[in-house]
């Protein structure tokens, strides 16, 4: 880390810590969602940015995490941590079992295979109402209680969610920075060359898919404890699509990009909703604009802009 970045980091930390106290309550609530979506989006970003895999099944694992937390705490009266663990284990096992065969597909086929998976899961969440409560859902999920602190307000839950998000970012960063990350990049850029270097592509892709599912499940459990009520409407194919937008909009290869993407999908609809019902159309158009004009996401576009300015400042002809 360069010494220059240290003051910026400290400033960022102060802003981060002060934010839930200075913004209005509904914004603190949105910031909690940003944290939750960052966790879910990180996994998709790893798959998209480092493996070239479009994952449209994240709502499945998000739903598994949420229902595991809801069922364990409300129906069985177990401590919250059990819900987190049960959700994570089920999601990872499922991701492994489904990932092994489905990740043999490539390109469009894989993208639509995961979309089909999300549609199946969404139908099953609806149908297995003995487990999920169907459209009526499961309510009364308790707020989290960490070492005696009851996280019953958005401004308190904010810190917990974001610490989890930072931990997940660290895990993602280490994964990308390690040997695994090198193997991932070689696989993305030339899978034939990677295979020739005896990298087991299948196992590698499955590994990242399992990590992605783990993040999805964690995000789902965090979501369940935040809103206290889960029902099938939260885990549809639409949700999978909006999760995919997070890395697409922010930039899949950069971790700050995921946060930017998560801010975009949580705040933009809220800001646009002041304009009335037209906001969903504008959101769709904004997405189209990002895809068409900034293929590397907002962070990528910003980076490009910065290099252009840097060149100009250096006296070059840019």
């Amino acid at each position: 880390m360069k010494p220059r970045t240290l003051p910026w980091l400290a400033l960022g930390l102060v802003v981060w810590a002060a934010l839930p106290f200075i913004v209005p309550r509904y914004m603190a609530d949105l910031l909690v969602f940003t944290g939750i979506y960052t966790v879910a989006g990180l996994g998709i970003g790893l798959l998209l940015g480092h493996c070239g895999i479009v994952n449209l099944a994240q709502a499945t694992f998000y739903g598994l995490g949420a229902y595991a937390s809801a069922y364990c705490t409300v129906m069985m009266g177990l401590p919250s941590i059990v819900g987190f663990i049960v959700g994570a284990v089920i999601s990872m096992v499922l991701a492994y079992v489904i990932g092994r065969p489905i990740l043999r597909l490539t390109g469009y086929f894989l993208a639509l295979g995961t979309l089909a998976l999300s549609a199946i899961a969404s139908a099953l969440f609806f149908e297995w109402d003995w487990l999920t409560g169907g459209t009526l859902g499961i309510g009364g999920i308790p707020k989290l209680d960490v070492f005696g602190f009851l996280l019953d307000r958005p401004s308190r839950y904010y810190f917990f969610v974001w610490i989890v998000a930072f931990a997940c970012m660290a895990v993602a960063h280490n994964l990308v920075d390690s040997r695994t990350g090198l193997m991932l990049r070689s696989m993305r850029d030339s899978s034939t060359a990677a295979a020739a270097l005896s990298i087991d592509l299948q196992a590698l892709r499955t590994k990242v898919f399992v990590v992605c599912a783990l993040f999805g499940s964690l995000a789902g459990s965090l979501f369940a404890h935040h809103v206290s009520f889960v029902s099938t409407q939260s885990f549809t194919v639409d949700r999978s699509i909006s999760f995919l937008l997070i890395p697409v909009i922010g930039g899949a290869t950069s971790i700050p990009g995921i946060v930017v993407g998560a801010l975009f999908v949580t705040f933009l609809p809220e800001l646009l909703s002041k304009l009335g019902d037209i906001h969903q159309i504008l959101f769709g158009l904004a997405l189209v604009a990002v895809v068409v004009l900034m293929p590397e996401g907002l962070v990528g576009a910003f980076g490009k802009l910065r290099t252009r300015f840097a060149k100009r400042e250096g006296g070059g002809h840019g």
Partner: protein
């Protein structure tokens, strides 16, 4: 399990299958001509059906004219999307994924536009051939479903003739097989890609108009039809629109026969499981390599 129950399931399967086939043929025609997977193919169905509903109820056009208007609306939107977005992105060598994301974004926009301008309510169209039904061995099939099947088969045969007999159809095939080669023989490859989207929009809109008297149309119909149409196209080998017709029928029959005796909401579970299994085990589709050739 009685015979009439099976027969009833077959009727439903063929009817749904034709709709999936029409959506799938459009998707497959677009993929063949532009290598773009169109995730808004189901929205063409919504556009076609909603335009027909509006022309019929608000402007009082006669029904056949309203149907034609709906189909033309689908075709025009297809052309617009190619000219406004796909052409620009193709020039910048956009990746497969960006095209997929583009069409997902367009699907969100269109479905939100229907919700905003027309509303949340579902709309029905009057059935073709009146309200009557045909009863065979206690199994019921609506006259409309018979019309739907006839029109679907007619559209499939017309598409085949179009690809094999007309100059434009042959040029579109040539442009999809070898763009450079086609360009040297004087085919306007870019325009052929636009026609591909026109064709896709037309077929999708037709599917939507035909299914509306049976299940109604609302702003959420598109996504489900896209998925079913994609499943149909993949079963047929993806690059072959006529294969998609076979795929659609197969999918319709499999899902309606599989749910005899269990809750009908497992229909989608069956259909999408079949999709995943076929993609993994038979990447060429159920027709095999032969299905990839030809129009």
């Amino acid at each position: 399990m009685t015979l009439s129950l099976v027969l009833q399931a077959i009727f439903a399967g063929v009817t749904n299958g034709i709709v999936y086939a029409l959506v799938g043929m459009g998707l497959s025609a677009i993929f063949k001509g532009s290598r773009v997977i169109n995730a808004m193919q189901g929205e063409f169905a919504v556009i076609g059906a909603m335009t027909t509903v509006l022309l019929l109820t608000r402007t009082g056009w006669p029904y056949p004219a309203a149907i034609a208007g709906g189909a033309v609306a689908g075709a025009l939107v297809g052309a617009f999307i190619e000219v406004a977005f796909v052409r620009y992105m193709a020039r910048k060598n956009a990746s497969e994924d960006s095209f997929l994301l583009l069409t997902i974004g367009l699907a969100l926009t269109l479905s939100a536009s229907v919700l905003f301008f027309i509303g949340r309510d579902g709309h029905l169209l009057p059935p073709l051939g009146g309200e009557g039904v045909l009863i065979i061995l206690d199994a019921v099939i609506q006259f409309h479903a018979l019309w739907l099947i006839a029109i679907g088969i007619g559209a499939t045969l017309a598409l085949r003739a179009f690809y094999h007999r007309t100059t434009i159809g042959l040029s579109m095939m040539a442009a999809s097989i070898d763009a450079d080669g086609a360009a040297t023989t004087g085919i306007n490859v870019g325009r052929m890609r636009t026609f591909t989207f026109v064709l896709g929009g037309l077929l999708g809109a037709l599917g939507g108009i035909l299914v509306t008297p049976l299940i109604g149309v609302d702003y959420q119909l598109g996504l489900n039809l896209t998925l079913k149409g994609f499943a149909a196209a993949v079963l047929g080998g993806l690059t072959n629109p006529l294969g998609a017709a076979v795929g659609g029928l197969t999918l319709g029959l499999v899902e309606s026969l599989a749910i005899i005796g269990i809750s009908s909401s497992y229909k989608d579970v069956v259909a999408f499981s079949v999709l995943i299994i076929i993609m993994i085990l038979m990447p060429q589709g159920i027709l095999g390599r032969a299905g990839r050739r030809g129009g």
